[in-house]
Symmetry: C2
Subunit: 145 residues, 2 copies
DNA sequence: GCGGTATTTTGAATGATTCAAGAGAGCAGA
DNA sequence: TCTGCTCTCTTGAATCATTCAAAATACCGC
């Protein structure tokens, strides 16, 4: 990470009203390298640079960043929560049913159809979230065991 | 539950290759009364009729029924797993962000658009799952606290 | 540089779910 | 109807992801 990138990351945190701590910088950097990482993976990625970091700090940082809108949290069924930097657009995810790998998917037809379902049982819909399930390229190519 | 319904439930289990135990009958009955119930709610519903039932049995029964295709398991983010009897159709769910209530939603435009996203990063898509988030009628009517 | 407050560290607890071993019950065949 | 095999349940404990709480620390405006 260059000096400029460091300053930039710091600025993003400050703009969100958060203090620019080493841990937060490290978590943001880790998520750039590891998209869709879970808390344990983020922790593992942060540790080499900041050996005294605690797991709880990672959870706290991720929660703060998520609240501030800098990070998006996704929770596929059967998987621990995962985090990504791509926020503000309405993209969805595809999860490999065999290995759990996650990929980004842009909505096929824009956001409109997914957001206007018929018969919502009286509920007021604010957001729609789509999870696709399938096989990642690696698992599709691998032999059945 | 009438005698006919009991026999019918028993037959459904047998047809799925499962033994018709009291616990499984009770869980199926509980899910008829409590759609979208989680394991704890199913357990609570089963207990009056079968006081010796264990929580683990409920988990085991729900897993067996899910494997057999008699029950569908849904896991909204931030909520324990929930179960429903409605299987075989491609309906989705809407979750109340305030109280966690769940409603059924039929796909607005059939299954086609949701199942054919653009740019799947090389993944092979098999199923699509939509979760809508919003407010249930009760919470929408209730004052903000 | 200092002080006040947001964050992190340390340590422990929680909730949902699963694992394992032995007791018990359902069902196919006699 | 009775028997035995096997699947299922009970009992007891463990796991994983995550959160709570109190004290130590570090960031940032002045």
């Amino acid at each position: 990470m260059t000096t400029t990138e460091i300053a930039d990351t710091r600025e993003r945190l400050r703009a969100a009203g958060l203090r620019a701590t080493d841990q937060r910088m490290a978590v943001l950097t880790a998520l750039e390298t590891h998209p869709h990482a879970d808390a344990a993976e983020v922790f593992a990625a942060v540790l080499p640079g900041l050996p005294d970091t605690s797991v709880q700090a990672v959870y706290g940082v991720l929660a703060a960043l998520t609240d501030a809108g800098l990070v998006r949290r996704i929770e596929p069924a059967g998987s621990p929560a995962r985090y990504e930097l791509r926020v503000g657009d309405n993209h969805h995810h595809i999860v490999c049913t065999r290995c759990g790998a996650i990929g980004d998917v842009d909505c096929a037809v824009g956001s409109a159809p997914c957001l206007t379902p018929a018969g919502t049982s009286g509920f007021t819909v604010t957001t729609a979230e789509v999870t696709y399930w399938g096989l990642c390229p690696d698992c599709a190519a691998a032999p059945l065991t």
